[in-house]
Symmetry: C4
Subunit: 197 residues, 4 copies
């Protein structure tokens, strides 16, 4: 079966997951107190921006994979459902980290974030390798170097996130810095270093 | 008329229904209490995961049907609207069951879940047989064995769910175990046993 | 310009507007009180079902129009935005009517519902006649009888809803019965009487 | 890579961002007090309508750009993600302005609105000029006059919004009138003055 509806469904989930965090952006204040309330709720805006960009990166990656894949079977659809369930969960721990950046809840929040990202990376790994091994679902005219390039770039994801999650047990602050560095690396790798595509 | 827009609309509803439950996933706690609050709200995560997967399975099945169907008439569009209304309702009783797993509200929650799933199964039945009887909306080149295979697999759905719902009157716990077994069976049947696509 | 993206955007709004009311379906109760709470909140389920079906009918009608329309200009896109803004508003007054069916707020709720439906009917009228007059945006191969059939069926919408809204000033109950009768007529007209399409 | 999935994702975000504000439209009142509550919450309806139309205009403009663009690279996808993050944020400051129209919070609300619109205009600028400079992503058959027309119309957006935002420091009311005038100008420019397309 072709991948068209998989893409429509996935794009819907990506769009909703990215946008939904705006519901949590609020500023209830009377009259002149609004300015202070807006300034005070900056972690909400940060969480919104970080989630949107994170999900945006995942959407770009999902997009890139599906350009090389030209068919789907039922198992692939289920892997995709599991992947999307992880992705749509991302805004929740992102908000937790933003809200607890400066209090004693940061360890729990960083663990929640790290576990979610590790699970997402595992699903992305399963998603890609299910399609790529033996070129099971890969388009006949897909460039083998691009397929291998993606395979190489997906291998370290889960261990890196699992490692950063373990760091949270020792130092939550260090793990958050690590998570930010990983995200930054993915943005740069996807948009600056990579030529073509 | 072709089925393209039916699919876009349906994919939108599936995507929103699956994703929306994340709104209910919350953890309000100050500082060090966050870890405990996260651990305590596991029924919310379970409900999110179960809903997402349930709706994912329904999306895969809807998808499979529409691959054999190549046109729609207005009555079929309305049946589809009714089916989607049932599917978008599923997250609500799923959350009820998760929240009342260990208190006296389990009977009511299991009944709500069972009635929703029975109604959904009836709509799926109507959806498929309206299209399949006399191959009314089936594509000319669709394999008759696949059409019959789907017809066979859709016949028992509504009676099975109705039966498990009745069990809830006697033993809510037994009915919840039955519901889980049915869901597991559908996942396995769709993804493991079935060969091909 | 072609109408594809108009359809994607519209289908997204339809899907969200139809599904969003599920957020309002809640049942907060502890333990054994859940059964009673579920039974008591039936107006929420009724509002959900009525909204979903109403928006479903509008989606079918929008769909039917766009099958005869094969291009769009910027003004048509704006009319479409206004129409979608009305449609996405429908769940709100629908819920008001359901919640106030048996108290003194029914007049205000019926007026809100009637005004929303009148505005929606006016936008649908503008949407269709902007495209149909002089076959401005109608596909060259569209059947003139179908175009005229739709034009005829869209003429009475706004006056009928405006009339039923005025009735709410005298008798809210009578206007709600009228609204139900109009909705039922549209379902029957679309799905039972009409052959073909 | 083609722009199809960019459009599906974008249309999803546009549809959700436009529709989501309906969640904030509420009227909790018992019995006869409903009429007053509905009349009193008009800023909610105004915010809903203004947001929906603003996002509708942006959707039309995004649509117009993508008709001339026939391919995307990864950087363009990221610019698009940033643009969509801004657009999905618009309903929040719009509601703030509506709620604080007549109290001391108008300055903060107008600044929030102005900053959001300035950021959105900058992203729209980056979105278009990234594609248009040297016709990097422009379709080979796209009319050069249309490309230049869009370039000309996108140049003043960010400075105009930045200027109106600065006005809010001196007079919040004046800046809100300016914002309304800018929005009105865009509607008229897009739908009345412009011939063709």
């Amino acid at each position: 079966m072709p991948t068209t509806r998989l893409e429509t469904f996935a794009d819907g989930v990506f769009a909703i997951a990215a946008t939904l965090l705006i519901i949590d952006v609020t500023a209830d204040a009377h009259g002149g107190a609004l300015g202070g309330a807006l300034a005070h709720s900056w972690p909400q805006y940060a969480a919104y921006a970080v989630s949107f960009v994170t999900i945006g990166i995942m959407w770009v990656n999902h997009h890139t994979c599906l350009e090389l894949i030209d068919r789907a079977d039922r198992r692939f659809l289920f892997i995709n459902v599991a992947l999307l369930a992880c992705i749509a969960f991302v805004p929740f721990p992102t908000r937790l980290v933003a809200e607890h950046l400066r209090d004693g809840g940061l360890r729990a929040a960083a663990l929640a974030y790290g576990l979610t990202m590790t699970a997402t990376a595992i699903c992305f790994f399963a998603f890609w390798f299910y399609a790529a091994i033996g070129r099971r679902l890969i388009a006949a005219d897909a460039d083998e170097r691009m397929v291998r390039g993606i395979s190489r770039s997906y291998l370290p994801g889960a261990p890196i996130y699992a490692g950063a999650t373990l760091v949270a047990l020792a130092s939550p602050t260090a793990s958050v810095i690590l998570f930010a560095a990983i995200a930054l690396f993915y943005v740069l790798e996807s948009s600056v270093f990579v030529r073509g595509a």
